[in-house]
Symmetry: C2
Subunit: 490 residues, 2 copies
């Protein structure tokens, strides 16, 4: 196998190669659409399982709404419509027919009375329905979540990071008070933060999007932002406080405790397969993926050492199965790979590429010494552990690996949390180190745009825990009350 392109040579090429070579995903024949291969899907499934549990523990329930949204519904919330109508899949007909017994064409007679749009997000169809479901304060709160696909036409697509169709969860909640809706928005932001840091081992900053970048139709968009190894930011998830915008657009009121009618307050929030892009760019190295044990579909791989095309000797096979069983009993996700078509060396490379946290290899020496060789993917260290200690050592080692991967990401990120007070210094930092650059901004859309044009950096967010600090806008020199975070981003 050829080695991967090095990160230092071409980060973007390295990324594309790693996605394909580790067997996570690849582009399909349909432009902008990707195929999640078994390894990629099982990773997403694992992430789903964890996040779903967190959402259920906080009272959320799953539902499923229609894929298609009639144009008339889609156009109810003006700001929302404006953005999402710019790139959406419009269904106009319901039949294809043969022309001249040959070519398949759209049957003009099958034109729909009203065009339908594939959901770019489901606020409109959901709020149309909530109108039917919500009458009284007793019907609130509604805390619903949906796992599914969505579609936004993208010009420049990248595997996981930006695809026309993506898999995600979208939460849509309805509340009787503004306070409760804001609390829900923050609660979800904290769930996303925990999920990202504790499971994906990716440290994030919590913030609020500047007004010009908020979700169309929302009052305020909260986000978590992470820093990739190349110093660029990635938005990992968003949680929107929607105010009463959708309840007003869809005329959804409820009778409160005092018998008065009020518009409902609401939130929406989502994370998508994009997270996998962030995962890859946070931890992986020039040998391939590095996956944190808590989300790795396979945590330990056992490889018997023997000649190609030969089955392992009975002694090796038996001890491998014993180890497999004892680890599985501990709830560890283990794979025993005794396929005979590949050499052990080939398998070593393959599982390093796939980022399996621990590799156990067992050959004749190991049998003699009653030890196994352990390879840690995160540090690429080899250690030897005796058989009898394995079932206690492996869970501990997995914990240690999880912590180490997170620690490395935290250290890397902290080094790139920078301040800048002069535009030249700012430009230098953006172009050389990258990172989250805390700088003053005059609060205008125009300044944000100018800085982006000149440096490619955008305002990622106003940090939620920001201290007020008077200063001057790095670009215009106008007064500013707090620093915001700039970065180039994906």
């Amino acid at each position: 196998m050829n080695p991967l392109t090095k990160r230092s040579e071409n980060y973007s090429k390295w990324y594309n190669e790693i996605v394909v070579r580790s067997g996570l995903a690849e582009f399909s024949g349909v432009r902008g659409f990707m195929i999640l291969k078994p390894y990629g899907y099982s990773l997403w499934d694992r992430m789903k399982t964890i996040l779903d549990k967190m959402l259920k523990l906080t009272g959320h329930q799953n539902v499923y709404f229609p894929l298609l949204i009639p144009k008339s519904l889609f156009s109810k919330e003006k700001e929302h419509t404006k953005i999402f109508s710019e790139g959406c899949a419009v269904i106009t007909h319901s039949r294809l027919i043969k022309k001249n017994q040959e070519e398949l064409i759209v049957d003009p007679d099958s034109k729909l009375q009203e065009e339908l749009v594939i959901r770019p997000t489901s606020e409109s169809i959901i709020w149309k329905t909530y109108k039917r479901w919500i009458q009284s304060y007793r019907d609130l709160p509604i805390l619903f979540n949906q796992w599914g696909n969505a579609l936004r036409w993208e010009m420049r697509t990248r595997l996981f990071l930006r695809t026309t169709e993506f898999l995600w969860q979208e939460g849509h909640t309805a509340h009787s008070t503004e306070k409760e809706a804001i609390e829900e928005t923050i609660k979800i932001l904290n769930i996303y933060t925990n999920f990202s840091e504790k499971f994906m081992a990716i440290p994030v900053l919590q913030g609020i999007k500047p007004y010009m970048d908020k979700f169309s139709g929302s009052e305020k968009t909260y986000c978590i932002e992470a820093l990739m190894q190349d110093g660029k930011a990635l938005q990992m998830g968003t949680s929107h406080f929607l105010g009463q915008n959708f309840s007003k657009a869809f005329d959804v009121t409820f009778t409160n405790f005092n018998g008065e009618k009020e518009y409902v307050w609401s939130t929406s929030w989502g994370v998508s397969t994009r997270l996998i892009g962030g995962l890859i760019m946070s931890h992986s190295d020039d040998k391939g993926l590095i996956l944190p044990p808590k989300i790795a579909p396979i945590q330990v791989v056992i490889i018997p050492i023997c000649y190609k095309k030969q089955h392992p000797p009975t002694s090796i096979h038996e001890i491998s199965i014993k180890i497999l069983n004892s680890l599985e009993k501990k709830g560890i996700r283990v794979k025993y790979d005794d396929k005979t078509i590949w050499t052990p060396g080939w398998k070593f490379h393959e599982y390093e590429m796939k980022g399996i946290p621990i590799r156990i290899s067992i050959g004749k020496n190991e049998i003699q010494n009653e030890k196994v060789e352990i390879f840690r993917r995160d540090t690429c260290e080899k250690i030897y552990i005796s058989w009898i200690n394995l079932k206690n050592s492996i869970p501990k080692l997995l914990d240690e690996i999880q912590k180490n991967i997170y620690k490395k990401a935290v250290q890397r990120t902290q080094k790139l949390i920078l301040k800048s007070d002069h535009y030249n210094d700012f430009k230098h930092k953006i172009n050389h180190s990258g990172g989250f650059i805390f700088a003053h901004w005059d609060g205008t859309k125009n300044t944000g745009k100018k800085i982006q044009e000149e440096t490619e950096a955008t305002i990622r967010c106003i940090p939620i825990s920001n201290e007020k600090e008077k200063g001057k806008c790095i670009y215009s020199g106008k007064p500013s009350l707090q620093r915001v975070i700039f970065s180039k981003s994906y």
Copy 2:
């Protein structure tokens, strides 16, 4: 609450009411599209979890392919195209714009170079991809499955039974020999049968579809058919042996062990949210749903007996929580409903409607006697069990309920497995008792069509375990070698 329409009065109305009133699903504002509500989605999720495990244990892996299929791909396999192009969602444009600052219209400038179709099933996009993935016998078999949505335009829709968009799993496998592909087709048929009988408690007949009803593009379609309470059949799942049809249409060959090129053999198979329709119509009664414990999202509900708008007395609350915890420790899915806005009586009705297998109610009497009242939803019997026996009795009772529901369905079905040798008798049976009617058929499409026109009955399948038996076609009198199964169906 008004009682449900009785099955004996209007079966179809009863069905629609039960779906909505039990909180499983309802139609959305988009014609033919349904909304899976939390209870319906959790039921589907439970079914998914079980079936997914069965598929993984037999070596299948999950993947995800694009939602949209380019028209040119869609038209590769001729027979397949013919059927699915008749009712499909065709995407022709990628943008909506404002006309006169007001109405939202399709932007004519956004016309796609090639139209895209929402997958009615994914053979075409998958076989286009398999061409890239399959070169050698070493790449085979491919045993992939996909959980997702699909869309087929339907004129007459019914909740769960026939909806334009549906959720399902679709398996797509590739093999090096015909024998292996046929074995896979049968293996899946057996998995579906087990899933239906052991978990959903629905007895099924395994059969082969008559040639005119096979899946378009397949060589042979295997199916499982179940009998509903009104004597009509429901197709619960299909498993298709595709021969080399798709590998030829997409030119997918592999180099075999001897270095020769061959076309790949394949199968596809699926079950959908339609199964939930079968579940409802198999077991439920005039009081509401009856769910087999193994797939019930909630197996036991605990209801404290107290006045409306009052919290239960501490003694009742404490013992309820104790029971909740001890049952959850046993792996039972329990809900404790101490909401104060409803009376216990209202809750009793509600959970009977939802088909929760066991209801435990705890009031002052129960506290005094250290017993609880147990209500079995399947038989509507009440029994009393002392606290200390609960954690052993409940798992046993759940098993018993599962078995009883299945036994009832088997008995009901067996009574309606009928033979008929005369057309008048056949018509009488079809119209009065309904059921699976074993009768001789001359093997022609025309006879099948005539019988359907005159009786609404169709040939459900040729039973897989059929004994050869010479006879005369019930309609044409022409010779026949075996009986086939006729029934009205959903």
